[in-house]
């Protein structure tokens, strides 16, 4: 026998017998925005990343210092707790997105459990054929013809703030000053995008009441979250509604007309019903899955974009003033907002082959998270990335690039993804957000954030950071335009 007693003194530190830090889910402290919790260092001083941080409240509100550590020190981070690799640099993320063969979309990926089999999980020609069935209805001339309808919807809803037809509790009138407090989410952003989507899909008006339930529940149920079953139930509820509609449209496709009475085309449900891929009609299941994708993708993301745009812009009054002075700047504001705080954080990919990237060997078939949030804040591409600046010289803010990421010496943000899976709703989402913003800016005077009613950061006074995704509510204070 070799080891001298007491053995416990040898054992305890080596196995962490008394180390409570490592058991279960730790409570990471909430840090001032921009600062990271110290998670340890390697011998050469490289900061380490505790993978439990990704599940923490701290990370959800203050993710960017952690992404910076990942980009600077672990550009491909093997997270053995979540069995995945995080890819965080702009150039790596875009290269992977553009390499469709090397980085496959995941069969049965995060979304399919709830949404069903959609083009998110397809690749190559299969993906393109299905996407084109409706993608072409959301761009170009088809989109141009929808713009007056979008504008009318926005004007109608914003007008409701003044005439008392806004959703209950979303507009509060201050009797002493005559000013109004408006919760932009309930009064506008929750419903505006899906009214557009409903119109594009050809949903009857009476389905509107359930729209918010469908998309918010489905989106909250993605990725096996704790509320996954809510998403699954909402998806079923949507299917129960849509099934009859699909049967009807198969027999009687509906044509949409613009205000001048010119045909825009068939609505998307009719298109999906009549489309053939490889000589086969799409099954009802496939049609409803794609409807679920359009409802989820078209609702939640644009809702977030509208709220984030106003939240950011109104925190930078000089930039808001510039936008008011020059209408053309709305596009730059929209893109810079998406760079700073987009609704979708990135896309998962499977690497098709074994590969080595930045010295990390990744076995074939691994889950590789392409972190758009991080790539958009990569200071190798965007200097001073945490700052919201609509005049940023390095951000491309022109017409969305269909292939590639750079144009005119500027780099595009990745909020809509890149390459073959570029969001087909990017163009219409852009128009919704910007048209809605223009209408709103013209309708009201002296608009600012109602700070009193908004959630605060840990210091108790400043506004809470956006963190991952989008803010949920935004109270604005407005004076009515006399």
């Amino acid at each position: 026998m070799t080891l001298t007693c007491p053995f416990r003194e040898l054992l305890a530190p080596a196995v962490g017998l008394d180390d409570d830090r490592v058991a279960g889910k730790p409570d990471f402290p909430l840090m001032p925005v921009g600062q990271a919790v110290d998670m340890g260092h390697s011998r050469d001083g490289t900061p380490l990343v505790d993978p439990r941080i990704f599940d923490s409240a701290e990370f959800a509100r203050n993710p960017y210092p952690y992404y910076r550590i990942l980009r600077d020190h672990h550009p491909v981070f093997h997270d053995a707790l979540h069995n995945c690799y995080w890819v965080t640099r702009y150039d790596d993320v875009t290269a992977c997105y553009l390499d469709e063969e090397g980085f496959n979309t995941i069969p049965k990926g995060m979304s399919s459990g709830v949404l069903g089999n959609t083009q998110l999980e397809l690749s190559g020609i299969e993906h393109r054929r299905r996407r084109n069935v409706y993608g072409r209805h959301l761009v170009g001339k088809a989109l141009d013809r929808r713009m007056p309808i979008i504008e009318r919807l926005a004007a109608e809803m914003i007008g409701g703030w003044m005439d008392g037809t806004a959703p209950e509790g979303s507009v509060v009138v201050d009797e002493s000053t005559g000013e109004r407090s408006v919760e932009l989410g309930r009064a506008f952003a929750n419903e505006f995008p899906i009214r557009v989507v409903g119109q594009v899909l050809g949903f009857p008006d009476d389905a509107r009441a359930d729209f918010f339930y469908w998309y918010s529940s489905m989106m909250n149920g993605l990725g096996g979250s704790d509320t996954a079953h809510v998403g699954v139930e909402a998806r079923q509820h949507l299917e129960d509604f849509v099934e009859a509609l699909v049967a009807e449209r198969r027999a009687h496709p509906i044509y949409l007309y613009d205000e001048a009475g010119d045909p825009i085309g068939r609505d998307i449900i009719s298109e999906l019903c009549l489309a053939t891929v490889d000589g086969d009609q799409l099954s009802t299941e496939e049609v409803t899955s794609n409807i679920a994708l359009v409802v989820g993708g078209g609702g939640e993301t644009t809702r977030g974009a509208i709220l984030n745009l106003w939240y950011l812009l109104l925190q930078h009054p000089e930039q808001y003033a510039a936008v008011l002075a020059d209408d053309a700047l709305w596009d730059a504001a929209f893109h810079e907002m998406l760079r700073v705080a987009s609704s979708i954080g990135g896309q998962p990919r499977h690497n098709t082959w074994d590969l080595e990237l930045h010295g990390v060997r990744v076995p074939a078939g691994s889950l590789m998270h392409m972190v758009d949030f991080s790539a958009n804040h990569d200071d190798r591409v965007f200097a001073d990335p945490e700052r919201f600046d609509i005049f940023r010289p390095n951000l491309y803010t022109g017409k969305i690039i269909r292939s590639g990421v750079r144009k005119d010496g500027r780099a595009s943000h990745l909020a809509f993804g890149v390459g073959p899976h570029l969001c087909p709703g990017a163009w219409i989402s852009h128009q919704e957000t910007v048209i809605g913003a223009r209408v709103l800016a013209q309708a009201v005077d002296h608009i600012r954030i109602d700070v009193e009613r908004m959630p605060k950061d840990i210091d108790g006074t400043s506004l809470a950071p956006i963190g991952l995704g989008a803010i949920r509510t935004l109270w604005l204070r407005i004076g009515a335009r006399g």
């Binding site: 053995f7 040898l10 599940d55 093997h78 069995n83 496959n104 069969p107 049965k108 459990g113 704790d226």
Partner: protein, 417 residues
Amino acid sequence: MADGEGGWRSYEVYQRVRPAETLPQFKPRRLTSRELLDDPYPVLAMLREHTPCYRDWPGNAFWVTRYDDVTSVFVDDANYETRSKRWPYGLEGWGHDLGNEPEVVACIAARLDAAAEPVARQIVGSFAADGRVDLAVELAARYPLELLINVLDLSADDGAEFATRYLTMQRGSGWDPVGREAGLVAMEELAAMFERLLASRASDGGDDLVTVVARHGATGCDLVATLLEGDHETLHGGLANLWFLLSAHPDQLDVVRSDRRLVKFAYLETLRHSAPVPSADRFCRHEVERFGRLLPDGALVRCSAAAANRDPRVFADPDAFIIGRKDLCQREPRGSYRADGLPSGISFGTGPPSRHPAEPEDRPRSRYAITRDLTVIASEVVLDELPAIRLADGAEPRLRSLRLGELHTCWSLPVLW
């Protein structure tokens, strides 16, 4: 990877979740909670009974929990692969694992056989004279290390350093980067220590493991890799859990006391009832459709021995600790998981119970048999030396994992005799 032009999928397998298939009361975070560390059985039973191949999105894994499913994965090397412990370290090419070299297997088996009883007697003999000891620490955790030191024939100074570094290295193959950093340091220090010993023993005629691998021209890294890929956990955890269960069931302890033949059965039932290694990970070699699901190429299949061993489809009254249970295989089921028409407990995360399923006559004993015999020998020594052993008054021992994915065992078991 699906067949087809360009390497992408040319077909689809439909896999939407339906409302009836969800478990509204089940939160995926329970699989990373403290609850799973302390008592995983209720959570695992829920998965086993409702979603036998549970898609754990946050952990990016498929949990397989039924006995027949788990064993079907373990024996299916064509579809599933085991990944080396050097993989989380990012050291796949570092050193050669010599664990399956015939000389190494023979050397380890011979040294362990010779050392088992003397080491156990020495350990038990060293217990304080006040008739009180923490059996989990002083015997269960210590015994495997003393045996390893004996196999390597280390001096007292080297032995103490080895023990700390070895444990640190094993722990570093988990998910915690802080532990991994410590593990990397420990591996380098171990490699340096072995380089020194290998140089001095290359021309020895000794029969210890260092000398045997030195004769093969192995490096310090090779020896470290061999030790890392090896496993002391079933020995440690099995011994601790056995005595935890015996001390919690004094009537069963009396039975074992009166019939030593039952020590082996108690051990086998321990591995079934309280598996020290609760789950083992396998990765799909290619896309495969199993358990009603499409498992993509590279998917992590987490095989839960803890859940499978309590599967009521296979074991009657599975939560009860019954020594000599009639529905449990009481011998080594070579090359499979069943023998004599009976299922064995799943305990070894290393694949089929025996790597040497049958003939030839002179095959080395399997790890299964070696580990079982080492535990039984140590337990018999305890019964010999401490015949009146019982749980200390007021002690409330429990099983727990210190961290996710680690040994589920008893870390403190104060006993009197």
